[in-house]
């Protein structure tokens, strides 16, 4: 892959991350503004404050993703948040609105998969964006080619406590 291709890949990873950022903010606003009907719909009645708190969390990570020079840690933050959501929903699966809860759970699982994919792309892009800046092939540290240095210190005996039992000389007590 040449340098231009690597740059393109990095740009597309950042575009995806921005998408996740806006999605986060939108979801957070819904959780904040419509906590009551949402709670009823997914079988979390009475837990509106928790939903609002999750909403604030979504908005904060969304802003983080959009504002940061490096969005990767914020996307990881989203993955961690998804884990919380999954945990919360999973414990409500026995409630009155099981079908809706299961639907919501499915949606969160989908979002998690997307987050993980974006995070992986970002990590890959970060690595790929580095072209080799210097030729280090002359930096051997040896006075002669490595082949001729192999075993130059073979006479060195490791201290006894660092030998494996079978290599230790017998001792007389």
């Amino acid at each position: 892959m040449d340098y231009q291709q690597k740059l393109n890949r990095q740009a597309s990873a950042h575009r995806l991350a921005r998408g996740m950022g806006w999605f986060s903010i939108a979801l957070g606003l819904v959780e904040l503004a419509c906590a009551r009907p949402l709670a009823r719909a997914i079988g979390m009645r009475g837990e509106e404050p928790l939903l609002r708190f999750y909403g604030v969390r979504e908005i904060a990570t969304g802003i983080g993703v959009l504002a940061a020079r490096d969005p990767a840690p914020w996307i990881w933050g989203r993955v961690a948040g998804d884990a919380l959501d999954i945990g919360t929903l999973a414990t409500r699966l026995e409630g009155s609105r099981t079908a809706n809860t299961a639907l919501a759970l499915g949606a969160v699982l989908g979002a998690t998969a997307a987050d993980v994919a974006v995070a992986r792309q970002l990590a890959g892009a970060r690595h790929l964006s580095k072209p080799m800046v210097r030729d280090d092939s002359g930096r051997s540290g040896f006075p002669k080619p490595p082949e001729q240095m192999r075993g130059a210190a073979r006479g060195f005996r490791p201290p006894r406590d660092m030998l494996r039992p079978e290599d230790r000389p017998p001792t007389i007590h």
Binding site: G77, A83, L128, D136, R139, F142, G151
Partner: protein, 393 residues
């Protein structure tokens, strides 16, 4: 004096701080001529090691000239002498020091009570490395106070340069101990994860000690090129499957000896377990990312030896210890017992068997230290090892 000071996660500054003074009769004060940034410092920079406090002076790889000695140093060190300072502080007298286990000296850690609570028993005091190991001011500074100075030093000759000698303080003995402690045989394949400064020294050590084949694993092109220059076969873990390549290179048997020269900040993103680790780290449910340990246990030949100089901080998750147990692996690890190896290694440098300067890619004034932490961490500008010069402005 000026010194690099830890102010919090990713916040290191070059501040003016009070000069160190003799506090104990066995102290000495050293005027630092050169110091370096280590991969271990990155764990502090990234905020993954507990026990740092705002205002702590960083640095544990330094050398310079003795400018003052306490009355208890007793002629073993004199003003004007040129010394390299080992990063492990050793009293030289306790039972562990007597056995050469300087990194677990029983007396040099002045915060023993905290260490005993956290670790069960105390380990040695270290320069510039958390209050768990004594909270001693480090050597990325114009001057450093050396406790137990009569035993915590390596006298060095004047005909060699700072650059040739500085790494006796840490990475050269660390790479050497990593290789020595698994007793290399001429038939051995040695696999080394991480081609950072420690990995590079481990590669050279394994070659000198006569390993049949040395394999280096990393993803940074300059570091892989440098590994190759030292005689290693290389694997880019972003491009190839590490396990498959290792099996190919060993006729399916696996390497007899493995070294983890990566530690707790393994790269994130190329495999699923690293993503899991990063997410757990984000919610403080795990302190290290042990991908390399997992891969190493899997790759290692049964009855082989795994050597772990890579630093881990506390808890790691999903470690397949069943692999290690059933394959009968031996695991050797630890901070380096620096003084145990320095006399021998100094002689090898003097004889020209190894010239550790090969690893240096950046030499800058101390004031540029904070920026260099970032460059080194992000492996930008081909950075492998940074040397800081307090005398330059």
């Amino acid at each position: 004096m000026r010194a690099l000071v830890w102010h919090g996660k990713k916040d290191i500054r070059c501040d003016t701080v009070p000069d160190p003074r003799i506090e104990d009769p066995r102290d000495a004060i050293v005027k630092v001529s050169s110091c370096a940034i280590c991969g271990s410092d990155l764990h502090l920079y990234d905020g993954f090691m507990m026990g740092m406090e705002r205002g702590d002076i960083l640095g544990h790889e330094c050398m310079g000239e003795v400018v003052e000695v306490g009355p208890g140093v007793d002629g073993k060190l004199e003003v004007g002498e040129r010394v390299v300072i080992p990063f492990t502080i050793a009293c030289g007298e306790c039972e562990q020091c007597q056995r050469g286990h300087f990194s677990v000296c029983e007396r040099s850690n002045r915060n023993q009570d905290i260490a005993k609570k956290a670790l069960g028993h105390t380990t040695a005091g270290l320069f510039g490395y958390t209050h768990l190991t004594g909270g001693y001011a480090g050597g990325q500074a114009e001057y450093v106070r050396v406790p137990f100075a009569d035993t915590t030093h390596v006298k060095v000759p004047s005909n060699l340069s700072d650059e040739q000698l500085l790494f006796l303080s840490d990475i050269l003995p660390t790479g050497w101990q990593a290789a020595v402690q698994y007793d290399i045989q001429p038939t051995d394949t040695v696999a080394i994860w991480g081609a950072g400064p420690v990995g590079q020294m481990a590669i050279r050590s394994a070659i000198l000690l006569g390993a049949k084949q040395v394999v280096a694993i990393d993803c940074v092109p300059e570091r892989l090129a440098m590994a190759k220059a030292g005689g290693a076969t290389t694997i880019d873990f972003m491009a190839d499957s590490v396990i498959e390549r290792l099996n190919e290179l060993t006729s399916g048997r696996g390497p007899e000896k493995c070294i983890d020269a990566v530690g707790m900040e393994s790269h994130v993103g190329h495999t699923l377990d690293t993503i899991y680790d990063r997410a757990k780290q984000a919610v403080f449910a795990e302190t290290g990312r042990p991908h390399v340990l997992r891969e190493m246990f899997y790759a290692c030949r049964p009855a082989g030896i795994c050597s772990v100089p890579g630093v881990y901080g506390g808890l790691v998750d999903k470690l397949p210890f069943g692999l290690a147990m059933n394959k009968g692996l031996t695991i050797r690890t630890g901070q380096t017992d620096v003084n145990r190896w320095t006399a021998d290694l100094l002689q090898r440098i003097e004889e020209g068997q190894i010239d550790p300067t090969f690893v240096i890619t950046h030499t800058v004034p101390l004031g540029e230290g904070p920026a260099m932490y970032r460059t080194f961490r992000d492996k930008e500008d081909g950075c492998v090892k940074v040397v800081l010069k307090p005398s330059l402005h």
